[in-house]
Amino acid sequence: MNTLDIHSVQSFSGLLDYLANSIVLMPEIALLTAASCILLLGLFLGRTKEIVTYLSSLVTLVGMFFIIFMKQDAGVNLFDGMYVVDELAKFIKLLVCITVILIFIYARPYLIHRNVAKPEFYLLGLFATLGMMVMASAQNFITIYLGLELLSLCLYALVAYVRDSNDASEAAIKYFVLGAIASGMLLYGMSIMYGITGTLNLNEIGLYLANINDFNIGLIFALVFIVIGVAFKLGAVPFHMWVPDVYQGAPTAVTLFIATAPKFAAFVMAYRLLNEGMQDLHGDWQQMLIILAVLSLILGNVIAIAQTSIKRMLAYSTISHIGFILLGFLSGESFGYASALFYTLIYVLMAAGAFGVLLQLKARLKHDMRDVDQLVDFKGLGQTHPWLAFIMLLLMFSMAGMPLTVGFYAKLYVLQSLILSDFIWLAVLAVVMSIVGAFYYLRVIKYMYFDEMVHSLSSQKELTSYILLSINGLLIVGLFIFPNYLLNYCIKIFY
């Protein structure tokens, strides 16, 4: 590993070396620059600024994707180990870029239809992306916290993005207050950890923990707070209260954002904290994660049954999926993390598709600005929009973990890692809960295909998002037939 240290810079040429190697940071720097330029550009544009912002944001993200793909070499450690570029970071960044591109394209027709298409959406999205990239590479409490806050602040603002919506404002306040408490918890845990170990660097914390033999209650105390902070951000029970309200209250385009890309960032944050920092406390955090996972699986799946709003139902379904991701973490071994990463990836693919379908649909009346949100709105969708309904059908079966869809492998892999680490009872619980889950996914299909239409919805006639959504839906089946590449990539990262 190529380690760079500012203290070793003794001469001018050394400084140049240092800067040259900092080019590793080029994607982040470029993204920041581009986002700032787009922000300024907005000042000089009139009515075209929305479309210009949209297009330049997409160009930025696509460019970012290629820069990361080609230029950011894995295996570099910067700034005293504050910032690391490894295979995982690179992969997460690529995924985040793709997801955000997807989000922008899905969201735009919806925003235009509701007359809320403004440059802020894309700008906040870009800054949130920057936050997620920082999180992907953060290997130090400070960097983790910086990335997390940059992401969170953008998300709070995005939730409140439609200013005259009461629901959205309420959701934003809830999200902000609870998010701030979570950040506080995380910081508190980090500060205790710093007090004990004397360092903020995760690797050094890992080394410190590996060398102490006696039991230290302070460490457990710090660990509890850090795990709570992570659980808040992931939305695991009992720290899930914000999830349904925010999912439902936020405009669907923003819900799509919250439900997808930040999950990658949360995954990588949890991985770095728990594995790279506190691998030696594995026995302790395993217990905590079991409780979180079990509660998330049970509560998420059971309460989702009672929902009449699709967004709320998907929120509870997210909670149950988070439970599955946490189950992957339990083993504390490479195969476990690989299964959790694969599950996260598939989950994001499914959630993007599901909210994408919602975004395609418009309420019946022209002036009805209500989000398509009630399950009964889906009645007869199979007749009016056969293709959208079919994509939704695939997504629902995939979320239920049925074979013939890629959701099956995601569950299979996590179950396998559980059984491999002797948690058979958890595997049984997980599958029993996925039967409960199957019920509400099937109910969506029931509304779409088995019921007669009550009021017909119209859909956005926007080709790009429609095609992309179709690809998204077909990937659910395509990845079922050809999962090798993606699976092996997820595995390779951790070995």
Partner: protein, 503 residues
């Protein structure tokens, strides 16, 4: 000529791809899509006949073997092969699907292309179940089958279709998730998902017990056994005719096939220890469900309960082998073969019975026995078929229903007289509920004006029923070819089932 062709893959993918093409063909015209679906199903039938021609019944090894690495990370292979147990079931599938498509020709007015497409996809998946040699591949087909069936019942079903189809789905899903856990556990023990390797894996008593229970839940729900049978009557009643036929004729057999492929060879020790329980449950199914069937007022429900009772014979035949003395191994073979014959024969008979009810339902839109009476006066040809199938269902000698039952009863008699006694009550009960239904529906004076206006079978219906009648009679009079086909495989299975697989 066909040696180079991967026959099993063709059998699986031809109907699946064909089914999807039917959806596309709908854009051209509906009649074209219908004919296309029929052609695909007939082509699949022809391929399956090629399979039968090329199959060597004197070998127990898997034939037409295909293998390709599929998912390297999990060590999952796309491996297919058939033995004498799978081949008859595959033929049953291809034959019944053709008949279902012909029978549904004019029945469903709505979304006919989608209806046929669903059956074709389902056909491919069901054939996949019988061919899969990799446990996860088996599981994928086993579960994947639920999706088209769920849609068939839910979209084209009766008034309470939503309740019935969700109940069907969740029940079966519930059973199969434990199967999945057991398979993963076996994989981590044996290091492979290859079923033949799993059958050689040594497992201690506790492991065998739990794995057996997981298998048992999955297959008992599917077959279905008392007391987890309650989804079946609901699903049958609400399903469209074609759905009921496929459900009864083939999907139930997947459960029985699972017992033969997984439970007996992989966990023989646990199977022998728990055989008493299975036998008891099977006999309860035969006797108690027989009485339940007697009380039904809905024809489809009655046939559904009779299916459960008949499936009791299948499980009885499979597990009674552990209660036979060692020197009676020829009777063990008789028992398993009897169970297999019963499965095939029930496939034809129950399919035919549901088609008959479908014929009546298309004309009268009622399945209630009380709404009929004296149908023979207006539909003599139909009545002849219906009476024949009813007789076969009751196990009349000369029909296929008799062969399987008598083989199983003979073998159980050797094991325990009481088993045979209880099993034989089906000859009385089966005759009672089936013939009583026939008496009330077919015979007597014309029940009401609507019955008086009924038209007899049209050529299409006549064709479907006569094909099935032919199979029922041929199998009843000359079952030897079928038994020879599976002889070697059954002997090998018994050899495996009499191991302990303990370390």
């Amino acid at each position: 000529m066909f040696n180079s062709l991967p026959i099993l893959s063709t059998l699986i993918w031809l109907p699946i791809v064909g089914g999807l093409l039917v959806l596309a063909a709908k854009k051209i015209s509906i009649p074209f899509a219908k004919w296309f679906a029929l052609i695909i199903s007939i082509a699949t039938l022809l391929v399956s006949i090629v399979l039968l021609k090329g199959f060597d019944g004197s070998q127990f090894t898997m034939q037409f073997y295909e293998q390709k690495e599929w998912i390297s990370a999990f060590n999952i292979y796309y491996s297919l092969g058939v033995d004498g147990i799978a081949v008859p079931l595959i033929l049953l599938t291809t034959i019944v699907t053709v008949l279902v498509i012909i029978a549904g020709w004019e029945v469903s007015k709505e979304k006919i292309a989608e209806y046929f497409a669903a059956f074709l996809v389902l056909e491919g998946l069901m054939i996949g179940v019988f061919c899969a040699l990799d446990a996860i591949l088996f599981y994928i087909f086993f579960e994947g089958m639920l999706i088209p069936m769920f849609l068939i019942i839910g979209i084209w079903g009766g008034p309470r279709r939503v309740y019935a189809t969700i109940k069907f789905f969740l029940y079966t899903f519930f059973g199969s998730v434990f199967l999945l856990i057991a398979l993963i556990y076996l994989y981590l023990t044996a290091g492979t998902f290859e079923i033949s390797a799993l059958q050689l894996t040594k497992l201690d008593q506790i492991q065998q017990l739990f794995i057996f229970l997981a298998f048992f839940i999955a297959f008992a729900v599917k077959i279905p056994m008392w007391p987890v049978h309650t989804w079946l009557p609901d699903a049958h009643v609400e399903a469209p005719t074609g759905g009921s036929v496929i459900l009864a004729a083939i999907m139930l057999k997947v459960g029985g096939y699972g017992f033969l492929r997984f439970s007996l060879p992989i966990t023989p020790f646990a199977s022998s220890q728990l055989a008493y329980i299975i036998i008891a449950i099977s006999l309860i199914a035969v006797v108690y469900i027989g009485f339940v069937a007697l009380a039904q007022r809905d024809m489809k429900k009655l046939i559904a309960y009779s299916s459960i009772a008949h499936m009791g014979f299948v499980t009885l035949g499979f597990f009674v082998i552990y209660k036979l003395a060692v020197d009676n191994s020829s009777y063990a073979e008789l028992a398993v073969q009897g169970g297999m014959v019963q499965m095939i024969s029930h496939g034809f008979i129950s399919g035919a019975m549901f088609l008959c009810v479908g014929v009546l339902y298309d004309r009268m839109h009622s399945r209630q026995i009380a709404d009929y009476g004296g149908v023979v006066n207006t539909m003599p040809k139909f009545a002849a078929f219906f009476v024949l199938f009813a007789m076969a269902n009751a196990g009349l000698p000369g029909t296929s229903g008799f062969v399987g039952e008598v083989m199983v009863i003979l073998a159980s008699f050797k094991a325990n007289v009481w088993f045979a006694f209880l099993a034989a009550t089906t000859l009385i009960l089966g005759a009672a509920y089936t013939l009583w239904m026939i008496k009330r529906v077919v015979f007597g004076a014309v029940g009401n004006n609507e019955v008086a206006k009924l038209n007899d079978l049209n050529p299409r219906e006549f064709f479907c029923l006569s094909v099935l009648a032919g199979f029922v009679l041929v199998m009843g009079l000359w079952p030897a070819p079928l038994i020879e086909l599976m002889d070697a495989s059954v002997s090998h299975l018994l050899y495996q089932a009499y191991q302990t697989n303990l370390p």
